[in-house]
C-alpha cells in the first residue's frame, strides 16, 4: 500500500466508527430516554403509552396497598394532582408514605402508571432533586419549610409537616 492509501484507510476507518457511534447515539436518544413528569403534567397532558417517563412526587399518605401478588399500589401526588401507580417488586429501603420518590415506567391506557423501577434517594431530606425543583418552581415547596399548601387552594390530603423530616 502506498502512503496515500494507508492514510485513506486510517481516515476511512475513523470516519466509519464515528459515524456508527453518532448513529447509535441518535437512535437511542430518540427511543430510550425518559422525561421527568410531575403528576400534574401527566393528568393535564397524558403521554402516549409507549413513551417512557419518570414520574416524581410524594407518596400520598395512606395510599400504599400491598396486594397478595406482591404488587404494590400507591398514589403519587404533587399536592395538586395524584396519579395511581402499580409496581411489582421490592420497594427501596427509603420508600415511605409522605416521601419523595421517582417511579420510572409507562402510563397504562387506564391512566394507571405501570412502574418498573421505583427510586427513593438516599438523601438527608429524602427528596429527589427533580421533585424538589419541580415543586419549588410552582411555589409548592420552600427551602427550610418543605412542602407548603398550594396558594389559594385547599390543602390536599396528607400531612405536609411530615414531608421534610429526616426519617419521619
Amino acid at each position: 500500500m502506498t502512503r496515500k492509501q494507508k492514510r485513506l484507510a486510517g481516515i476511512g476507518g475513523m470516519v466509519g466508527v464515528v459515524a456508527l457511534a453518532v448513529g447509535l447515539v441518535l437512535q437511542s436518544l430518540s427511543t430510550s430516554i425518559a422525561f421527568f413528569n410531575s403528576p400534574t403534567d401527566i393528568v393535564s397532558n397524558a403521554p402516549v403509552p409507549t413513551q417512557r417517563i419518570r414520574l416524581g412526587g410524594l407518596v400520598e399518605q395512606g395510599s400504599v396497598e400491598r396486594g397478595a401478588d406482591s404488587k404494590v399500589r400507591f398514589r403519587v401526588t404533587d399536592s395538586v394532582e395524584t396519579v395511581p401507580v402499580v409496581y411489582a417488586g421490592l420497594l427501596p429501603d427509603l420508600f415511605r408514605e409522605g416521601q419523595g420518590i421517582i417511579a420510572e415506567g409507562t402510563l397504562g391506557p387506564d391512566r394507571v402508571f405501570l412502574a418498573d423501577t421505583v427510586l427513593a434517594k438516599h438523601d438527608e431530606t429524602y427528596m429527589p432533586k427533580e421533585v424538589v425543583d419541580d415543586l419549588k418552581k410552582r411555589g409548592l415547596w420552600e427551602d427550610g419549610n418543605g412542602m407548603v399548601a398550594p396558594k389559594g387552594g385547599d390543602a390536599p390530603a396528607g400531612e405536609p409537616v411530615a414531608m421534610t423530616g429526616a426519617g419521619s
Binding site: M1, R3, K6, R7, A9, G10, G13, M14, V17, V18, L20, A21, L24, V25, Q27, S28, L29, T31, S32, I33, A34, F35, F36, R54, R66, A68, S70, A88, G89, L90, L91, P92, D93, L94, E104, K121, H122, D123, P128, K129, E130, D133, D134, A166, G167
Partner: protein, 664 residues
C-alpha cells in the same frame, strides 16, 4: 490543638505547593540546577504536610472530637473504630483532603523515583503537578475546610450515612482516587513535554508505568465499587450506569486507550501527538468526574455536597486545567515531530483500532452522562438517560473491539499477517464455537444472542493465551524446553495475556448473569421453600437482633441444591438508630462462581411472613474476578524489566532485551 495543627499543616502545604509551581519551572527555563532541585524538596515537604493534616483529621474522628463540624456531622461515638476511620473520607471535605493527599503522594513518588529523569523534564512535571495541588488546596481551604470548629460542640455526632458503613466503602474511595489522581502524572508529563516542545520514546517509557499504576488502582477501585453497590444496596444489580459510576468509568476507558497508545509511541515513536492528547483527556475526565461527584450537580447516592459555590469553584478548576492544557496542546502540538506511517494491518494498526473504539465508546458514555445536564440547563426539560441508552450505544461499539482483542498481540509491528494470526487462533475459535453450541443445546436454541456472547467470552479468554503458547512453542519445542522459553519471556507478555483473559472472564460473567440469572419476588412463611434457577431457598424464620449502632430483623435462609443443604445465609433489614435510616443487608451465598442473593422486603402483618426477593446469579463473581485479573495483569506488566520505575535509563544503557521480539 491537634486540629489547629492539621489546619496549619494544610496552609503550609499550600505555601510549599505555590513555591513548587513556580521555582522549578523557572529553573528549567534558565537551566539552573538548584532551582530545578527545589521541585523535589517541596514535593516531599508538601506530601509530609498533607499527611500530617490528614492524620490530624483522622485523629479527630478516632477520638470523636465533636467540636469539629466535619466530625460532628459525619461521625458518632458508638460507631465501630474502623468506620470512624473510614468516615474521614466518607464525606465531602475529608474526601477532598484524601484527593489532594494522593495527588501530592504521586508528586512525591516522582521526586523520589525520578532520579534518572532529565532534570528539566522532572522540574516541569513537578511544577505542573503543583499547579493542580494549589488549585485543589485553595478549594479545600476556601470552600470546604474539614477543620472548621463548631461552638458549642454537640454532645453526640450525626453519624455516617449507614450505607457507607461498610468495609467495601472503606477501601473503595482510596483505590478510586489512586486511579483518578494517578492519571495526573501522565497529564503533568504531557504538559511538561508540551512546555519543552520535545517528546521522544523515552518520554513514553516514563509515562507508561505511571499510567499503568493508576490504571491498576482504577480497575480495582471500579470493581470494588461495583461489588459494593451489588451487595450493599440490595438491588442485585452490579452496574447501574449511574453518572457517578460513569465518572469513574470514562477515565478508565481513555486510560486504557492511553496505555495502548503509549506502547506504540514507546516502540515505534508513532502516535506521539495522539498520546499526549490522550494523557490530557484522561486526566480531564478524572477532573470532570471529580466535578460531577463533588459539585452535587447530579442526584445520586454519592452526591453528598450540595453547596453551589463548591460546584462553581471546581468547574473553574476544570475549565482552567482542561482549557489551558488543550490550548497549550493546540499551540505546541505542531512542534512535536510526527512518527512514521505503518500498514493498517499491523500491531500499530491494531492498537489504533483499540484506541479508536475505546475513545469513541468513551465519548458515547460522556454524551449519555452530560446530555441530561446540558438539556436541563438549556431547555429546562428533565430527562434521564438510563441503562437502555448505554446498552444500545456502548454495547455495539465494544463488540468489534472485544472480537479483535486476541488478534492484537499476534500481529507483528509495522506489517502484520492477519491470515497468519487467524490461523494461530483456530483453537480459540473452535472452543468458542463449542461454547456456542453448548449454550444453544442447554437452552434448546432459545438464547442465540447469549450463546454468541458466551462464545465471544470464550474466544477472548482462550485467545489471550495463544501468543504465550506460540512464543513458548509448546507444539514444537517439547514441554520442558517450552517451559524454559516461557520463563524467559518478558513479563509484559504475561501481563497482556492475563489482562485480556480477565476481560474475557468479566464478559462471561456479564453475559451469564444477564441471560441466565433469575429474579423471584414472593411472600414467604417460615419453613416454606422457593425454587429459583436450579436452587431451593428455605425460609427458616425471622428474629430481631441488636448491633452496635443499629437494630435489625434477621431472616435466616437455607440454600438447597436439589434436596441437600448447600449453605445458610442471613439477610437483614437494618435500622441505624442515630439517623433512623433503614438499610437492606442482603444475604449472599456463593457457590464457586455463582451466587444466590436474598433480600428481605417488608414484613407481612400475619405470622412471621415476609416479602422476599431472590436472585440467582450464575457466574456473577467472574465479573469482579475478571477485573481482579485485569489489575493483576497490569501489575505483572509493571514488574517488567523495562518498566520498573527508575529502571529505564539503566535498561537502555545495557542495550538490547533478552528476547529480540518487541514486548507488549
Amino acid at each position: 490543638m491537634i486540629v489547629e495543627l492539621g489546619h496549619f499543616a494544610l496552609v503550609l502545604a499550600l505555601a510549599l505547593a505555590l513555591v513548587q509551581s513556580v521555582l522549578p519551572l523557572i529553573g528549567a527555563r534558565v537551566g539552573d540546577a538548584r532551582l530545578m532541585e527545589t521541585g523535589s524538596t517541596t514535593a516531599l515537604g508538601g506530601f509530609v504536610m498533607l499527611a500530617l493534616a490528614f492524620a490530624a483529621l483522622t485523629h479527630a474522628y478516632v477520638v470523636s472530637d465533636f467540636s469539629v463540624l466535619n466530625v460532628a456531622e459525619n461521625s458518632h461515638s458508638a460507631k465501630p473504630l474502623l468506620y470512624k476511620i473510614t468516615g474521614v473520607w466518607g464525606n465531602h471535605e475529608g474526601s477532598m483532603l484524601l484527593w489532594v493527599l494522593i495527588l501530592s503522594f504521586f508528586g512525591a513518588l516522582v521526586a523520589l523515583f525520578g532520579r534518572d529523569l532529565p532534570a528539566s523534564l522532572k522540574a516541569n512535571v513537578l511544577s505542573v503537578q503543583a499547579w493542580i495541588t494549589v488549585a485543589f488546596l485553595l478549594f479545600i481551604l476556601l470552600t470546604s475546610n474539614p477543620f472548621a470548629r463548631l461552638d458549642p460542640p454537640p454532645f453526640e455526632g450525626n453519624d455516617l450515612n449507614p450505607i457507607l458503613q461498610d468495609i467495601g466503602l472503606a477501601i473503595h474511595p482510596p483505590m478510586l482516587y489512586l486511579g483518578y489522581v494517578g492519571f495526573s502524572i501522565a497529564f503533568s508529563f504531557a504538559v511538561a513535554a508540551l512546555i519543552d516542545g520535545r517528546i521522544d520514546a523515552a518520554w513514553a517509557r516514563w509515562v507508561r508505568p505511571w499510567t499503568l499504576v493508576a490504571w491498576v488502582f482504577l480497575t480495582a477501585g471500579i470493581a470494588m465499587g461495583s461489588y459494593w453497590a451489588y451487595y450493599e444496596l440490595g438491588w442485585g444489580g452490579w452496574w447501574f450506569w449511574d453518572p457517578v459510576e460513569n465518572a469513574s468509568f470514562m477515565p478508565w476507558l481513555s486510560g486504557t486507550a492511553l496505555l495502548h497508545s503509549a506502547l506504540v509511541m514507546e516502540k515505534r515513536s508513532a502516535l506521539k501527538i495522539w498520546t499526549v492528547l490522550l494523557a490530557i483527556l484522561t486526566f480531564s475526565l478524572s477532573l470532570l468526574g471529580t466535578f460531577l461527584v463533588r459539585s452535587g450537580v447530579l442526584t445520586s447516592v454519592h452526591a453528598f455536597a450540595t453547596d453551589p459555590t463548591r460546584g462553581v469553584f471546581i468547574l473553574g478548576i476544570l475549565c482552567v486545567f482542561v482549557g489551558g492544557s488543550l490550548a497549550l496542546f493546540a499551540l505546541r502540538a505542531s512542534s512535536l515531530e510526527g512518527g512514521g506511517l505503518f500498514a493498517p494491518i499491523s500491531r500499530e494498526g491494531a492498537l489504533v483500532f483499540n484506541n479508536l473504539f475505546l475513545t469513541t465508546a468513551c465519548a458515547t458514555v460522556l454524551i449519555g452522562t452530560l446530555y441530561p445536564l446540558v438539556l436541563e440547563v438549556t431547555t429546562g426539560a428533565k430527562i434521564s438517560v438510563g441503562p437502555p441508552f448505554f446498552n444500545l450505544t456502548f454495547g455495539p461499539l465494544m463488540l468489534p473491539l472485544l472480537f479483535a482483542v486476541p488478534f492484537g498481540p499476534l500481529l507483528a509491528w509495522k506489517r502484520g499477517d492477519l491470515l497468519g494470526a487467524a490461523q494461530r487462533l483456530y483453537f480459540a475459535a473452535g472452543a468458542a464455537f463449542v461454547a456456542v453450541l453448548f449454550v444453544m443445546a442447554i437452552t434448546q436454541g432459545a438464547a442465540i444472542l447469549s450463546a454468541l456472547g458466551v462464545g465471544l467470552a470464550v474466544w477472548l479468554m482462550i485467545g489471550s493465551f495463544v501468543d504465550l503458547w506460540g512464543r513458548a512453542s509448546f507444539a514444537k519445542a517439547g514441554f520442558s524446553n517450552a517451559l524454559r522459553r516461557l520463563a524467559g519471556l518478558p513479563r509484559s507478555v504475561f501481563g497482556t495475556a492475563i489482562a485480556h483473559f480477565g476481560l474475557g472472564a468479566t464478559l462471561l460473567g456479564i453475559v451469564a448473569v444477564g441471560a441466565f440469572g433469575t429474579e423471584t419476588v414472593t411472600t414467604m412463611a417460615p419453613g416454606q421453600t422457593v425454587h429459583a434457577g436450579g436452587w431451593g431457598v428455605r425460609f427458616e424464620g425471622l428474629a430481631p437482633r441488636d448491633g452496635p449502632n443499629f437494630t435489625e430483623e434477621v431472616g435466616r435462609f437455607t440454600i438447597l441444591d436439589g434436596t441437600s443443604e448447600a449453605g445458610r445465609i442471613e439477610s437483614a433489614r437494618r435500622l441505624y438508630t442515630a439517623r433512623q435510616q433503614p438499610t437492606t443487608e442482603a444475604g449472599i451465598s456463593t457457590h464457586l462462581f455463582s451466587q444466590v442473593y436474598v433480600a428481605l422486603g417488608d414484613a407481612v402483618a400475619n405470622g412471621g411472613q415476609t416479602v422476599v426477593r431472590i436472585w440467582t446469579k450464575p457466574l456473577v463473581t467472574l465479573i469482579w474476578l475478571g477485573c481482579v485479573a485485569m489489575a493483576i495483569g497490569g501489575l505483572v506488566s509493571l514488574s517488567d524489566r523495562r518498566l520498573r520505575i527508575g529502571a529505564p535509563a539503566r535498561a537502555k544503557r545495557r542495550g538490547g532485551r533478552p528476547i529480540a521480539e518487541p514486548a507488549e
